[in-house]
């Protein structure tokens, strides 16, 4: 199940070469605006990014599902660049935080400073106060700083000196980390990993895509890529599209299917820790957003199966024996999917 490398561009759970639906077997909602926006973002990112379609589509799904994304990949596969370009397509405040080992929570959240003129403390917001926050190399900050993100990522506000400061909608954290380098890094706590809607494994491009990257660079397009990307969606647009996604229809048996899928991670022999109910919610919200991107007003088991690895892989812990054997979390998720009957 190469979910991370599949194309989400089809307008159904069925492949795009299937005949287009005719009434009454057609969407009851208008997804033209949503799909036009998604296509425009893909187009804008395609000006700079070669390939990585699955990454872009999962990022779009996360934006619509109102969830944070953790991008994991080796250096040089355009994790940070993709996140920066995606932020440029959204007409919302953007900030980037480079996590370092000496970073303190106040460097992220903000701090209160004393004003001699008024003899009062004044809160100076930190870089977290933006709509799209790119946290580069999130695992380089110690657990103390990482823990500062718990409240803001889940509850969308921070509390400082007894005062609560809400984030503005949309609020999206895009974090990157390198899976290979271990020196000078701190493993993210499970509680924080659970707050990411998706963990997307960013892989290497294909040979053809790499040739295209080389051709573009050789032709001189490698110098000024960021300015070529235009804004597509405003904050109000994003809020409206999210509202539409929330109204997606989910058949009751599919809710049971999601619950069973996530619940089976808690009883699997290869897993030391299963996924939490927050994973079920993430899978539901993600599937609703994905089905809307695919042009349907209802969720299918295909949507759930497609997103399961991205939703579950960072929320489960393998037993030490399986870890030493080289089993990957995706293998276990795939096995769980294969053992579960699709409601039909």
């Amino acid at each position: 199940m190469e979910n991370d490398f599949a194309d989400l561009g089809s307008t159904s759970s069925l492949p795009p070469d299937s005949p287009q639906p005719a009434a009454p077997f057609s969407p009851r909602a208008d997804f033209s605006r949503l799909q036009a926006s998604a296509d425009a973002i893909r187009r804008e990112l395609g000006k700079v990014i070669v390939g990585q379609q699955a990454l872009i589509d999962l990022l779009l799904t996360a934006i619509l599902a109102d969830g944070h994304v953790l991008l994991e990949g080796v250096p040089g596969v355009a994790k940070t660049l993709t996140a920066k370009l995606l932020a440029r397509t959204l007409d919302v405040p953007f900030s980037r935080i480079q996590f370092t080992p000496d970073m303190m929570p106040s460097d992220v959240l903000g701090t209160s400073i004393f004003r001699p003129n008024s003899a009062e403390f004044e809160f100076r917001p930190g870089p977290i106060f933006a709509s799209v926050v790119l946290i580069d190399e999130i695992n380089r900050a110690p657990a103390k700083t990482q823990s500062a993100l718990f409240e803001v990522m889940e509850e969308r506000h921070i509390t400082q000196d007894g005062t609560t400061y809400p984030m503005q909608e949309p609020f999206l954290v895009l974090a990157t980390q390198n899976p290979i380098e271990q020196e000078g890094t701190y493993r993210l706590p499970e509680a924080q990993l659970d707050r990411f809607l998706f963990k997307i494994n960013v892989g290497y491009p294909t040979t053809a895509e790499e040739v295209a990257i080389l051709q573009g660079h050789h032709a001189g397009f490698g110098g000024t890529p960021l300015e070529a990307v235009s804004t597509v969606l405003s904050a109000a647009d994003i809020r409206a599209l999210r509202q539409q996604v929330r109204q997606q229809h989910v058949e009751p048996k599919l809710l049971e299917y999601i619950a069973q899928l996530v619940g089976n991670t808690r009883a699997h022999k290869a897993l030391y820790l299963g996924a939490s109910p927050r994973a079920s919610l993430a899978l539901l919200n993600g599937a609703k957003a994905l089905s809307a991107l695919r042009g349907r007003d209802f969720v299918t088991p295909e949507d759930v199966q497609f997103l399961a690895p991205a939703v579950l892989r960072h929320r489960i812990l393998l037993t030490p024996e399986r870890e030493m054997e080289g089993t990957a979390p995706d293998d276990v998720v795939k096995q769980i999917i294969q053992q579960l009957e699709v409601p039909r």
């Binding site: 159904s12 759970s13 069925l14 492949p15 070469d17 299937s18 005949p19 639906p21 005719a22 009454p24 077997f25 057609s26 009851r28 229809h249 058949e251 048996k253 599919l254 049971e256 299917y257 069973q260 619940g263 089976n264 808690r266 009883a267 349907r296 007003d297 209802f298 969720v299 299918t300 088991p301 295909e302 199966q305 999917i337 294969q338 053992q339 579960l340 009957e341 699709v342 409601p343 039909r344």
Partner: protein
């Protein structure tokens, strides 16, 4: 005790011990001489045949092992079990309280066997994860080989439950394609998986249309009128007609 009296006692003791030793050595010498002179006078006594037969018939003088009767493994197990049980019950400790432990063990074993027969899952009580409980899926309907589709579809149509009729119609199509070897039925597969198995051509397109109609009707919970259901039924029948050359 004075030294003089002590010396006298010692002498008396030595005298009393030494006298029999001398007497013994004197009595041994004539017997050895008698034996040395006796061999030609020794007469061997042989038992008579009757005497040998009588001796052989005595149980104490029969040294051959009795043949062990051939028993099955099951009989051997029960023999050993009864022997073990007999030993256990005859122990003195059993009479003082251990018997209650044995009663308890037998009771637990009995309860365990009954629960196993009733298929009651008690693994959660022992700190282990319980077995997965099946969802309330209509698994009978999912087993496409165990459903009488024409009758069930006719029932759904008669009841006006067109959504169910579309679902049953789609499952019947899956059964037809499976029977013809055009796809492999597995409950965990999605419609896209099935569509990928159907060979390209008119059949592929027709199956895609039927699958899409099923998804909208079933997952989308589309309320269908009789006229709208007629479209789905027509598409299904058209697909089944395409299957005829494959059957041939």
């Amino acid at each position: 005790m004075p030294p003089l009296r002590r010396s006298c006692c010692a002498l008396l003791l030595l005298a009393s011990l030494g006298e029999p030793l001398v007497a013994e050595s004197q009595s041994l010498a004539p017997r050895q001489l008698q034996l040395a002179a006796a061999p030609e006078q020794v007469s061997l006594r042989r038992p008579t045949a009757e005497r040998l037969k009588a001796l052989r018939s005595q149980r104490e003088l029969q040294y051959e092992m009795e043949p062990v009767p051939q028993t099955s493994a099951w009989d051997s197990f029960w023999y050993r079990f009864r022997r073990w049980l007999g030993r256990l019950l005859n122990r003195p400790a059993y009479q003082h309280g251990w018997r209650y432990l044995v009663y308890g063990a037998f009771l637990v074993a009995f309860v365990f066997i009954v629960l196993r027969l009733l298929k009651v899952d008690l693994t959660g009580a022992f700190g282990r994860n319980p077995q997965r409980m099946p969802l309330a899926y209509t698994t009978e309907g999912e087993d496409i080989h165990a459903v009488d589709f024409p009758a069930r579809i006719a029932e759904a149509e008669a009841a006006g439950d067109y959504r169910l009729a579309v679902r049953l119609g789609f499952l019947s199509v899956l059964k037809q394609l499976t029977d013809r070897g055009l796809l492999t039925w597995r409950p965990e597969k999605t419609n896209a998986d099935y569509l990928a198995e159907v060979p390209a051509g008119p059949l592929h397109a027709a199956f895609g249309q039927v699958a899409r109609q099923f998804e909208y009707a079933w997952y989308g919970e589309l309320p269908l009128t009789a006229a709208q259901y007629a479209l789905a039924r027509e598409a299904r029948l058209a697909l089944l007609q395409l299957l005829t050359p494959h059957a041939a």
